[in-house]
Symmetry: D2
Subunit: 437 residues, 4 copies
């Protein structure tokens, strides 16, 4: 949007909201201070600036924007490129594969697009011969299917072996679609390439259904995941309402970051308790108190729990209970909560029914919804532009309403998590049963 | 997200992408200069700053953020509030009504929430007695339905009459959900309130399925609309493939702004020609050339046209054709194109089949998808917080990844449109049949 | 189901419902006599009998059942088969193609399965070279897509030319998927084959989204069509409720038979007036009376009209109105009703809003729902079994809960229509605004 | 359909399929004799006959048809009726409640419609005061929601207590929506009513998502369940294809009858092994052999298992394994198979990934699809007509394409199951990996 001409003659006053007068009444909302507003925190209007600068001594940082350059690093008609999908399934994988393939073949006219099979495993000498030579026909309608036509896997391979494969296939750009674990691998591959002084670009497309990669506002597949998660919550809600003191319990994805649980809770409007890993003080007692409080006002209850909740707690309680086993099998928080809630309510002679839903595989295997599809198409295109321009060891990010290039080492510094004192979590608190003191 | 601690020790170098070397090959993409990248345009990392400042002499502007304050302007337990929905249907209207009602009744404990019926008409002395007194029970499951339980209408009422109604109902905050036409009305109401020196807050929630309101990155219902639009395109694609030289033609919403057509095109991956109002040089000849070019390479074709395309052209050609009639009935661009394309191909003795789809009412009457639902819930909450804090004559916006308060006069300065030289439109150009010179 | 052992020792008494006593109160339902029950009409329990017989002088007829025989007419490994899809799109076409192809190649190991392109046109000498040689890979996932990979067309080709093509391709069984028009063609092809004394089997699979083929209880795609039609009605309902005296008008498929309109009306529960071609006395005056009656009790209205309604009426009124033009263009009943209803209500100074939805292409291009998919798979299999067994000039029917073989000449004797005095239509009358006397 | 006039002049010859000649080639299909056709089994054309008769000494039975009579047993304006929903959730419950309520209040003008809460429990003296007095407004849009607004429960109450409640509420007709367990209860209530010589009608609406009630061709909610089950299979298929030697395992409902597994298998086209309870010789060895056979030809596998499969087997193996515990907890066949398949493939050093999906609650809590909605509406209407006509102790059935009255004692004689030697199961065998000898 060309907004510059609109700004002509404006001053900050034009950006300030009109107000009726002085605020003097106490807010009846029962929220901790952390969630209350203070004057002064404002949202910047401009979102693109030239070069890095400081404001009031505070340093400003910026990301490079990807896109097609007039001059590019590779001679596209002479090169091969490779694609690999790693980690768990996520809606949109096939869309990204399709977008990269089309843009390379139809746009840049590259010689060959190789799809390596089943994650980094497909880049090893053992499995590299399985690689597919992708054509436009092969990828034409794959975006209508969930999953990935390339297959995927988890786990580590040596970067030496994988770079050998890149050399063997004469790959100039490798597109790696995966999560933070994967991109630790991407970084190692990029480092090995540098060590050997090769001209191979490593372009990462961040893929995490949990939306937990830093500096990327929202990852592809996330909206689709929330849509499917809402269906599971809706089922739990129907089950809960269909029985005397019915309880619906839904476990959602989110090992370390509760974004899916949070947004599915906001989207459904039917959740009474939402548990995410970022809330560190998980306790059964507190959960039981909230459940009991809900049942004083209603005859049904829906609980959403992210899979990463209470792992410390769980490990401890399992050790105490089952002890001595030698090899500890991680217990499922959903199944655990189902048992504990039942046990507790039975001990209170409280008649109830509890239904547990684990929709994870049905969520992640879905095909991408429309906005995710549009997003994936553009991620793929930008990845190709970035690779052609010789960028390497970077992810295609989306930040401040713009696609951007995020250096992999920067993105891996930390995991993105729900700010437990922030506005999104406040919204959850406003519509669920509050924690007891 | 509390990113400040992560930034410790970083420099701009950490934000710069690694590069393999100098770019020296010509880019084979056949794109105008406007779409090519130049070094220097970068994406700001930070998105919130304190107070307005300048960078290199360029003024920075910022919006106020909404949220709950410790001290508020109204004594909530003593006030009535009103809600009104105006203009065309849009997915999410009921979600916003539900969110405002819940937050006012359960959160702020206001005395009464009145829902005025059928848009501004419901604020006139003639119809105000139809207003509903909303309760939590009444709105409990309305977010699962499309449309608006309050009804809606278009058209103007006098602000004097409407403010009289606000006074009569003892309204302290009026929530107006509507598009730019509506908020011209909101602004007039706010001005009349000021003239009478009343303490009534006017809070607007921007509603436009076309996503054409300035300074609001994406309006509610837009993602849902794109999802439904994609279904229509998919139907057109199936029809096109099911016949010798089949043509699928879809008209989508977008009087002045082609965002739905644009994103549905990117989402579907099956569109060959996408026409939006922002491209000003619409001509049938050019369209025919693109159609013929497509048929040299394929046996089917999908065309998407936004409803506002070619209105000037249409008015002219209709005048010439039907002349003299006195009252000109605006012709439908979709039906017009269907006829003209058929006529042209018949004149060329080119056997073909054309199927025309107009899904508009099926799109706008859908219930909100998950992400839009989550978005609507939060828009409603922020609207309530803003009203309680005495803000007035403002819209709840979403900008740079944050909710913000946008003064209505600022938002109405101009209409948001697709930047025809920007990256989004470039993505469309990359996947459709290029315009002929 | 092996029910014979269950029947041991039963008498008709076991099949008679218990009753509380004599019926002596008048039924308050305001229904014509035709719709009232009389004792004696009963539902036969048994559904398969051996050979034709008489009961009380009334002749009983029966259809042959299809399935695999130990001995078959063709040596499957030595033959080619052909598939052709004709007429309009219908959900499930690709499922039937896939089922036939798989069963021929994997089950019966036939040499070649040819898919002729674009309906009977693909069987002409002009276009037969376009035929595809289908493989399991090619059809593997086509059942997830709407439409037909073979394309389709309407219109007549000479049977001489088409049988020449069958001979040229050495086809032993031709599977023809189409409606009654198509199967007039199938019959002619079968007759020409007989005339030449060829050994080619013509097996028809009835395809009519209108469900209007005689002796076939329900055609494939019908359930899916009703599902999609319900969505359009739901949109019309939302639009109607969203405006003062809102009217939603939906045109559904059904040239001569109103089954889709009927079942979509029952499925939605939101329709107030349902118009089908089988009701012969269509008049605008009667429609207006029903509309006015509805508005005395409610503030919104939904009208469903099948496309074949009022064609006689329409032709007459159009002649009167536009006269003299030479070539009469058939007017659309939906658009016509929209105008006439508006005109009438305006003449009565009755404020209202009317929204018209024509979802036809979006309905017929959908992929088959689950039950239709299961049905199509079995239709395809039975078609192959019937062809292998040397049956010809037959359709695969479904009657009395069993698949059966229906001779094409029998099926074409008349069109299946809604029994306007039957129980299904009575159900519509019970939930809509009654016609005025 | 008034077919009688069409039949004029027809003979059985018109119903016989044309044939090309003698069958003399061996059928290559590898199917047991039970599945092969023999001449002579035919499908009766007529489906309604008058009174019971014999054909060739074989007795014919028939069911009474429900519908509105001119004279009815009750004076509707003077009576109360009751509705109760029992057992597990099933798509369509709310549709039936809505249909009965509307027909009683709007059609027959009964005084009161009581909805008893949470199954038969709501008919006890302890809980009967929770009963809701249903109005048209209360049920207006409930058919768009899954579950039941009345709640449900399992388990037995004494018929004496329940009939006391009916008397107390002055109920003349009780509509009981439930499965075979429930209708054992209905029968006992009817018997107790008879014992007391009361004039209360008990009308059952068969509700079983497993479709396992005798003499009812298809129960409501079944088509919807198959639709949702197909989604789970689709997810399993995507997961299976997304990994090296991926296995997707889906457990579907079906304690004693495998209809959902069967039809979801036919609908999906992606299942390689389908296990249902009717196949009695379940063994792990046989399953392993089929899995291994599949992997010789493909790199992925989908297994569907009905929940009732292998219970004998499971009980035995669990006893052997965990023994001594006193109280045997029934193990889940899905989880059991997941473990055993993994263990087996690991013992063979066969690399693989297995994903297990249990979609049961998400299936049964869905709202009814269109055809089920239409079906439920009519079931409800017929139930009301039957009750008004003084019928009692009957179910509303659907047989030979007609609604009919099935005496409850007859329906309870046996459970409906998949005919393991029938045509439906043959279709499954034709598309899955055959069992090894």
């Amino acid at each position: 949007m060309a907004t510059l001409d609109i700004l002509h003659g404006l001053t900050q006053d034009d950006f300030n909201a009109e107000t009726l007068g002085e605020n003097k009444f106490a807010n009846p909302l029962n929220l901790p201070d952390a969630y209350m507003m203070s004057i002064g925190k404002r949202v910047l209007f401009q979102n693109i600036i030239v070069d890095e600068k400081k404001i009031e001594g505070k340093e400003l940082f910026s990301f490079e924007r990807p896109g097609p350059f007039r001059k590019i690093f590779f001679d596209p008609t002479k090169i091969n490129v490779g694609i690999v999908t790693c980690g768990g399934l996520c809606p949109g994988l096939n869309n990204v594969i399709r977008s990269i393939t089309y843009d390379c073949l139809d746009g840049y006219k590259v010689k060959n697009v190789y799809g390596f099979k089943n994650g980094f495993e497909g880049l090893t000498s053992e499995y590299s011969q399985e690689a597919l030579r992708l054509s436009a026909d092969m990828v034409n309608s794959i975006h209508e299917q969930g999953g990935t036509i390339l297959g995927t896997s988890r786990g580590a391979q040596t970067e030496v072996d994988m770079v050998d494969t890149l050399v063997k296939f004469n790959i100039s750009i490798l597109f790696v679609i995966g999560g933070d674990g994967t991109h630790h691998g991407s970084q190692k591959i990029a480092e090995e390439i540098k060590r050997r002084n090769l001209k191979i670009s490593i372009i990462g497309i961040p893929k995490t259904i949990d939306n937990d990669i830093l500096f990327i506002h929202k990852t592809f597949g996330f909206d689709t995941a929330v849509e499917e998660a809402r269906k599971a919550i809706s089922a739990a809600h129907v089950e809960a309402k269909g029985a005397r003191n019915g309880i619906g319990l839904v476990k959602l994805m989110g090992r370390h970051s509760g974004f899916i649980a949070l947004h599915a809770t906001l989207a459904s409007g039917s959740v009474n308790v939402c548990l995410i890993p970022e809330e560190e003080d998980f306790s059964l007692e507190n959960l039981f108190e909230r459940i009991e409080k809900r049942f004083t006002k209603s005859d049904h209850l829906v609980v959403v729990v992210a899979e990463g909740v209470g792992q410390d707690f769980l490990n401890k309680s399992i050790e105490k209970k089952y002890d001595a086993s030698g090899n500890i099998v991680l217990q499922d928080i959903g199944i655990f909560l189902k048992k504990e809630i039942s046990k507790h309510l039975e001990s209170k002679k409280f008649p109830h029914t509890i239904k547990y839903i684990d929709p994870s595989y049905m969520i992640r295997s879905t095909s991408a919804n429309a906005i995710d599809s549009s997003f994936c198409l553009r991620l793929g295109t930008y990845a190709v532009h970035a690779g052609m321009a010789g960028r390497t060891n970077v992810l295609i990010g989306y930040w401040n309403q713009h696609y951007c290039l995020v250096p992999i080492p920067l993105a891996l510094r930390q995991r993105k998590q729900v700010n437990i004192n922030g506005a999104e979590w406040r919204s959850v608190l406003e519509i669920t049963v509050p924690k007891q003191k």
